[in-house]
């Protein structure tokens, strides 16, 4: 199931749909969506149980790796998985159903932004230059900041679970827990596996195929 692609592809070429190249949504994308939800479920639950701050907020959320690396490789399928799997990993670690549901927008943005940055600025998923690292890091910071603001301020305050004075702890907990785990995992995963992933038919150049 691999396609013949030169190992010397430039970042621009990785994302470019060549003339005559036919790309369409296939069974493999549906499978990838399911598998990403499955990996995220397990990996995210590990973080949620091991380093809990409470209500699904963690000091070190390992699920961020699946949430941000998956969309870079698999576009919209990764974003969908990134928005859905925390719902399961949070559920298994005891986060109430409706709180998990209300986290969906935060998780969707966290998954979407790095994928959008890579496609918009034609970055290399193999992380070959400082620009690739820099933009990815920036996307991680901005998306986690959104998640960190949305979840404690909108969700947890909305459910009456936090006092105004304790909100900063949860904002920093969410932000730090995601960014630190992202720094630990995202760069290594992209560096190690992107050269293989971009050769597979599952790799998504646009958003869905």
């Amino acid at each position: 199931m691999t396609t013949e692609v030169s190992s010397e592809l430039t970042a621009e070429q990785i994302w470019k749909v060549e003339e005559g190249e036919r790309r369409s949504v296939g069974v493999i994308h549906i499978v990838i969506l399911a598998l990403l939800i499955g990996i995220g479920f397990v990996v995210g639950a590990f973080g949620s149980i091991s380093f809990p701050l409470g209500f699904g907020v963690n000091f070190f959320w390992t699920g961020i790796a699946v949430q941000q690396v998956g969309p870079v490789w698999f576009g919209g399928w990764g974003v969908l998985a990134g928005a859905i799997f925390p719902f399961f990993s949070n559920a298994i670690s005891g986060t109430p159903f409706y709180v998990s549901l209300a986290y969906v927008p935060a998780n969707a943005v966290q998954a979407f932004l790095p994928a959008w940055v890579f496609r918009r600025f034609k970055l290399d998923p193999r992380l070959r230059s400082g620009r690739d690292y820099g933009y990815l890091f920036l996307a991680m910071i901005v998306s986690s900041a959104f998640g960190a603001l949305w979840s404690p301020l909108v969700v947890l305050k909305g459910f009456g679970l936090l006092t105004a004075d304790s909100v900063p702890l949860f904002i920093w907990g969410w932000f730090g827990g995601n960014v630190v785990a992202g720094v630990v995992f995202n760069f290594i995963l992209l560096k190690a596996l992107s050269p293989v992933v971009i050769r597979t038919t599952a790799f998504v150049k646009r958003w869905w195929s």
Binding site: I30, V31, I39, F41, V42, F97, Y98, L161, T163, S166
Partner: protein, 286 residues
């Protein structure tokens, strides 16, 4: 024994007389109850009712052990968040001052209320996870006419979570066989080593995606195009019938929720003003 999402339940469990949709409906509706109940005694009552349902369903109660640390840590965080990190509020009643931190009665009360709101929600989820098999969730989703592709993705995701766990064990054993021993090491070291699990896990999953796809294509599955429009027989649904008892349960759950809303908004019921437990707590801390 039936393997559920969070343990094992005997084949003879009464829970299997109930249609899976009722369990899903229970989760969706009963999870809302604590949002409209402030008095902790009602939420404790709900929690006990769910534990009773788990016992009737013959759930292995040892499963609950894994939630004890979560419940304790969540309780501690809520208490700390409301008391130590609760800020300075001259308008509140000061109970005690510890190392410069003011502990107010209102903050302790609010922490207790929030904690006992969260617990029944967790127990509802645990009840669902301990009594539902993968198949039950699929049946529940198909019963409410959720599209085939969504149900299928859901089923594959649940199945792949199990496979990822197996892969995780394999990778761990392989690393242990090469002399890797995390015992007694620092958290920073363990986190660093965790990266060693992630790369093979991802790589194995990517390989599995190809195997999965080939298997599906070989069986004629398609999620887009002409082939996807063929009406599929819902074979699994033929094993489940929505009986009169299921209808009764569904109506009772729905009615209980409506009664709760009427009592809460119409008669100001379930509030903390009328809570004897809060009054008791007040007497204890004063």
């Amino acid at each position: 024994m039936n393997k559920t999402l969070l343990g094992y339940v005997p084949n003879e469990s009464p829970i299997y007389y109930i249609h899976p949709f009722v369990k899903l409906f229970f989760l969706l509706i009963v999870s809302l109850f604590p949002l409209f109940v402030t008095a902790p005694e009602w939420n404790i009552g709900l929690m006990l009712a769910i534990i009773l349902l788990m016992w009737i369903s013959r759930v292995d109660m040892r499963t609950l052990k894994i939630y004890i640390p979560i419940a304790v840590s969540m309780g501690s965080i809520i208490l700390l968040s409301y008391t130590v990190l609760g800020g300075t509020h001259p308008e509140f009643e000061l109970i005690v001052r510890i190392i410069g931190v003011n502990i107010y009665w209102e903050r302790i009360r609010d922490a207790v209320i929030v904690y006992f709101r969260i617990l029944p929600m967790i127990f509802t989820m645990v009840f669902f996870l301990t009594t539902s098999r993968e198949r039950d969730i699929i049946v529940a989703m198909r019963s409410i006419r959720i599209p085939f592709v969504v149900t299928y993705v859901f089923a594959m995701a649940l199945r792949s979570a199990g496979m990822v766990l197996e892969d995780f064990q394999i990778v761990r054993q392989a690393e242990q066989a090469r002399g890797f021993d995390p015992a007694g090491k620092s958290i920073a070291y363990k986190i660093r080593q965790y990266v060693m699990y992630m790369i093979p896990l991802f790589a194995l999953s990517l390989r599995r995606s190809e195997e999965f796809t080939n298997a599906l294509v070989a069986r004629g599955y398609a999620f887009t195009g002409e082939a996807s429009r063929i009406k599929r027989p819902d074979y699994i649904l033929t094993h489940y019938q929505f009986k009169a008892l299921d209808l009764v349960f569904t109506v009772v759950i729905g009615l209980l929720f409506i009664i709760l809303l009427v009592m809460h908004y119409g008669y100001n019921f379930f509030g903390m003003e009328t809570s004897w437990l809060i009054q008791l707590l007040r007497d204890v801390v004063s």
